[in-house]
């Protein structure tokens, strides 16, 4: 007592800083956890460590240059970012894209979705302790990177699309390799499932962890696989078709309970659906030009628009305002799916254990490059 009045400190809770340097926060995410024992009472998500001001930068680059800035946002799904951006500008300018370009874009986007899901499954499994799954997934992702390398020469930041079409046609024999990859990936999916889907420990670690109901998920702004895991069949590819998705057949998998396991199952099914889409697109790949009629100087008329596509993480939206006078956008805004999904983390982790926090960050599938931009 020592005469001075004691400050009443809370003996029950412990504040712990998870990140920004932590092995399983997938980059520089910082989660400040308030723990009671090992149970999370509350958490605060701190982001911005990777903020590079891509939006501001883009407002000072011209429309062609921005494509390669979008690569740097969700760097495990660069082609998807390219696609969303190019389509938004095309929408703003009223450009028509040739069908062949649309099909190739679809193939690239779906390959990218598989690659992104590979990274997700690998890291998610590794966070829960199954390291082998990580390396298996990286092995398959490597094949996709090879395909992209053959297509555009780059392995991570592809810069693979242009406003109005594509910079390159697919190389000869590439479609055969894509088909071969689809076969391999389909085989390996069985491996992943053998290691995880019916594994008792995996079930115990993911079932009923981070349950979020459909309406709650919509309210908090979840999109993509986490939203579908909660049983809401929302997929931009189906609801507001873009690229060639209106001509292709695929299913939108949904979960039942909205827990981590459902999100896992949804993404696993998306692997299969992506392969299905790629096969259809390869079968129906039309001949023709790969670039539409694009003016030499990209200078959209004054106006603004918002356009969203389904990235592997969720709804990736671009809002572009043009003042009609300049070759760079007046306002360039990205609606990053990871950012909006990450917002739900606080709601998800409450009442769970530290180990679940890791699993939940994994099940949301955030890429910090996209969260912070």
């Amino acid at each position: 007592m020592a005469n001075a009045p004691r400050p009443m400190f809370d003996t029950e809770t412990l504040v712990i800083n998870m990140g920004p340097q932590h092995p399983s926060t997938h980059g520089v995410l910082r989660v400040v956890l308030r723990l009671d024992g090992e149970r999370v009472v509350d958490c605060d998500v701190v982001i911005g460590y990777l903020h590079r001001g891509i939006e501001k930068l883009s407002e000072n680059r011209d429309y062609t240059q921005i494509v390669l800035l979008t690569d740097r946002m969700d760097y495990v799904a660069a082609a998807t970012n390219n696609l969303g951006y190019c389509e938004t500008v095309e929408k703003l300018m009223g450009l028509e894209v040739p069908r062949r370009a649309k099909y190739i874009r679809t193939i690239l986007a779906e390959l990218q979705r598989i690659a992104s899901h590979n990274v997700w499954l690998g890291t998610h499994a590794m966070d829960i302790g199954a390291v082998t799954v990580f390396l298996y997934n990286i092995r398959e992702r490597e094949l996709i990177l090879d395909l992209f390398e053959e297509y555009c020469g780059a392995r991570l930041t592809y810069n693979s699309m242009r406003v109005g079409g594509l910079p390159l046609d697919i190389p000869a024999g590439w479609d055969r390799k894509v088909r071969e990859f689809c076969r391999i990936q389909e085989e390996k999916l069985v491996d992943y499932e053998l290691l995880l889907t019916h594994n008792r420990i995996w079930l115990e670690r993911t079932r009923n962890v981070g349950v979020i109901s459909g309406p709650d998920a919509i309210a908090i702004g979840l999109s993509g696989p986490p939203l579908r895991g909660s049983g809401v069949a929302r997929d931009v590819r189906k609801d507001e078709p873009y690229a060639a998705y209106d001509e292709l057949e695929f299913d939108v998998p949904v979960g039942a309970t909205g827990d981590t396991y459902d999100r896992y199952l949804v993404r696993l099914e998306e692997f299969r659906q992506s392969i299905r889409i790629i096969r259809q697109a390869l079968d129906g790949l039309p001949e023709g030009p790969i670039v539409g009629k694009v003016p030499r100087l990209i200078k959209p008329p004054a106006g603004e628009t918002y356009h969203a596509i389904e990235s592997p993480k969720g709804e990736l939206g671009y809002f572009i305002a043009s003042d009609g006078k300049s070759t760079s956008p007046y306002r360039f805004r990205v609606r990053p799916p990871s950012f909006c999904n990450l917002q739900a983390l606080r709601q998800l982790v409450r009442g769970h254990l530290v180990a679940d926090v890791v699993a939940l960050i994994g099940s949301i599938d955030v890429v910090l490059g996209e969260v912070d931009r």
Partner: protein, 170 residues
Amino acid sequence: MVEAFAFYSLAAFILGFAVLVITARNTVHSVLFLVANFLFVAALYVVLHAEFLAVIQVLVYAGGIVVLYLFVVMLVNLKRPPEAHADPRRRGRLGLAVAGLLLAQLVAVLGYSATQAVPAAAAAATAPAGGNVEAVGWLLYTDYLVPFEVASMLLLVAMIGAIILAKREL
């Protein structure tokens, strides 16, 4: 000769660590010295041919009870020195004096008994000698079965009591 050497060195360690236990400022260090003390007591039991007891000492005392102490010390994680406040009615000096007196008395008794002739000790050896496990077990499960069961009841009660005490809400 060997036994004398073992005894004196072990006794020195035991007493030394015991003094450190009660003088250490840091409670965690106190606990550590207590562990060391117990380990040397266990060694002394080995010298006394009570291997079973030595192992039990390590297993239960050092490996169990003291871990509990360490747990509690870490859990209470004191932000201020626990000894800051002294009850004015406390008579520390008096306590020391009483302890000293008691020690003197014990030493006197011992000194006196040492001068007396030792009764024929070995003559009484009727029970099986040695400290082996079977002997202890045999006694525990025959002559001392009732105390044994009582002790297990005591442990059960203590366990339930500790859980109730330490639990935040029931």
